[in-house]
Amino acid sequence: MNQAKRPFEFVAASYLIRIRVERAWTLAELGSHLRVIPEDSIFFHTFQSLESHHYTVFCNDFAQWAKAACNEAVLAEEMGAIDLRDFVSLEDLRHVLVATVENYLKKNPQSADRPAFEPFYFSEAIEVAVPVETKACTVRELADGIKSLSLQSLHYHFINSRLRLHLRTNDFSMWLEDSEGLPDLAQKLNRVDFYMNTLEGVRKEILETLKPWLHQ
């Protein structure tokens, strides 16, 4: 069984939501706030709220609000189609969000100042990540560790890691490639779709993907 060059270190991650004072009553206001709100707020309404949108049609808070509160289906689809997997920087994501709103309002100026049914309330997530004793030196130990992760910790290692690493990958794939020398497995793991799965579903698929390598 391969021993890793360095062990995988699991963390227990949790998030507290801070409610900000900014509110958008119109799409024009949404665009204005998007330009200046802190990155933590962009993060919360996109990466962090992903799990809550398995029930809804659109996969981020901005798109959901554009449809549910503004009845702007085209903009909602455009914002909902922004693929978080393409981003390793919240600043880049902000630019795309702002551009999407601005382009839409250029084509549909009558929509800019139409009052929404309810305002968009900006919030932000405060992350508390604490290292835990669990470490993995083999693929089997990695799988065991993933089984015992809370959903928020799984989110931290598999989804939010892209922003931390500034790479289009996740903590598990990064470790499998760098420390275990398993680039194929790393790539397979990185293809697990966190949009179409609940986090429990993501965990299940990750474990299925690791299964054939458990004795490596």
Partner: protein
């Protein structure tokens, strides 16, 4: 006037769930994370202060959160403000006014509020590391913090989005002396200059109010109250309060009754800080008339098992509030996989995603129509109930609340 002090429930006493008991519901990893966070809060002392020991959502919430935090080795106490009938009549007026209800103030009411606060300040020690004050009744205790370096947190369980200006202007200077405020929904906030955090209220899946019950027990409760299990049962559980619109529920039931041979149960418990309850119950009784299928049940505050049984026996649960703090009875119903018809007010839209986890309504007419729709489509009702259960499991259980408190303490202690 003395402040009553409630010792946290002894975790060793039979019937009180331990943290590990929740692992079967939320998973062992969640429990492990809670212990990790608690170990980092360490021996810092916490005090929770509210205005009633029994009845109402806040007391119920604290009765679960306090022993579980204590079980993890974090020192925590819960104290109750002592006020008397006049004081609670005033704070009930404040409560309704903060919800936006009309309010005719008298200077002596504000004086009484401050006098009772001053008396309680002499009795409640406030040197713990974290003081969490619940709702407006004890809010002015923050005056005690002069010279102290501990952290003060105001947990607001009500909707402050449209408060009566006079009451808000009176309370706001006190609130601004806190280090942090906690709200049940972003829409409840007032744009305060101090940090505002989102704390969804939560239910305890192992409490008598929510745990699984034997069918025989449920049957026995129905028999005791003369409710027919063979016909549809529509139920609203809430204390008798005009903001819960019991008369509106009766009007909706009458519209449904034209199409379905159903029954309506309005069941409420009293709280010691709610002197208006009896008046509202009588108003509902009058509106009910002599209809034998309309059951108005005034239950004592310890009727958790009976309320649980009534919810489990119900075909549809209604929560037709005009204003709402959060509406935890909705979470209770969803946890029991019941289809819910509820007003789109307060924190209810956080729980009821329209046509996904329940049906949102805005009027008597809408309530009646959605009840008829659900009674006509039992498969759809079943799916709503299942979705609702998952939604509560992911966001609104007591373990989530404990985690938020531990996170808050960790975040505040590093500021």
């Amino acid at each position: 006037m003395a402040s009553s002090i409630i010792a946290p429930k002894n975790p060793e006493s039979p019937g009180v769930p331990h943290l590990d008991d929740y692992a079967a519901i939320v998973g062992q990893p969640e429990i492990h994370d809670l212990r990790e966070l608690a170990s980092r809060v360490g021996r810092r002392r916490i005090k929770m202060i509210n205005s009633t020991a029994v009845g109402g959502g806040v007391a119920e919430l604290l009765s679960r959160v306090v022993p579980l935090i204590e079980e993890m080795g974090v020192p925590i106490r819960w104290e109750v403000l002592k006020g008397g009938e006049n004081f609670f009549a005033v704070t009930k007026g404040f409560h309704n006014a903060l919800h936006g209800a009309p309010f005719e103030s008298r200077p002596e009411w504000f004086e009484l509020f401050l006098r009772v606060t001053a008396e309680n300040r002499k009795l409640i020690a406030a040197d713990d590391d974290f003081i969490v004050i619940h709702d407006p009744q004890p809010v002015a205790l923050v005056e005690t913090r002069k010279g102290l370096t501990n952290k003060w947190i105001w947990r607001c369980h009500i909707d402050l989005s449209r408060p009566n200006t006079e009451v808000w202007n009176f309370l706001r200077p006190f609130i601004e002396k806190y280090d942090a405020t906690l709200f049940s929904s972003p829409s409840f906030t007032q744009g305060l200059g101090i940090p505002q955090y989102l704390f969804f209220p939560t239910i305890d899946p192992l409490a008598d109010k929510n745990r699984e019950l034997e069918p025989d027990f449920i049957q026995g409760v129905l028999e005791r109250f003369g409710i027919d299990p063979k016909r549809p049962i529509l139920t609203q559980i809430s204390r008798f309060d005009r903001l819960k619109d019991p008369v509106g529920v009766i009007q909706a039931y009458r519209r449904v009754k034209k199409y379905f041979d159903c029954q309506l149960v309005l069941a409420g418990g009293g709280a010691t800080d709610d002197p208006e309850g009896e008046i509202v119950r009588l108003e509902a009784q009058e509106a009910a008339g002599t209809d034998p299928d309309l059951h108005i049940l005034d239950l004592p505050p310890w009727s958790h098992l009976e309320i649980n049984a009534l919810q489990r026996a119900s075909t549809i649960i209604i929560q037709k509030s005009l204003r709402e703090g959060f509406g935890l009875t909705v979470a209770e119903a969803l946890w029991k996989k019941k289809p819910v018809v509820a007003s789109a007010v307060g924190g209810i839209p956080s729980q009821v995603i329209h046509k996904v986890t329940g049906m949102l309504v805005h009027s008597v007419e809408g309530t009646a129509y959605q009840i008829r729709f659900l009674l006509s489509n039992p498969d759809f009702s079943l799916k709503l109930g299942e979705n609702g259960h998952e939604h509560i499991k992911g966001n609104f259980l007591v373990t989530h609340n404990i985690k938020r408190y531990l996170l808050l303490f960790l975040i505040l202690q590093r500021t």
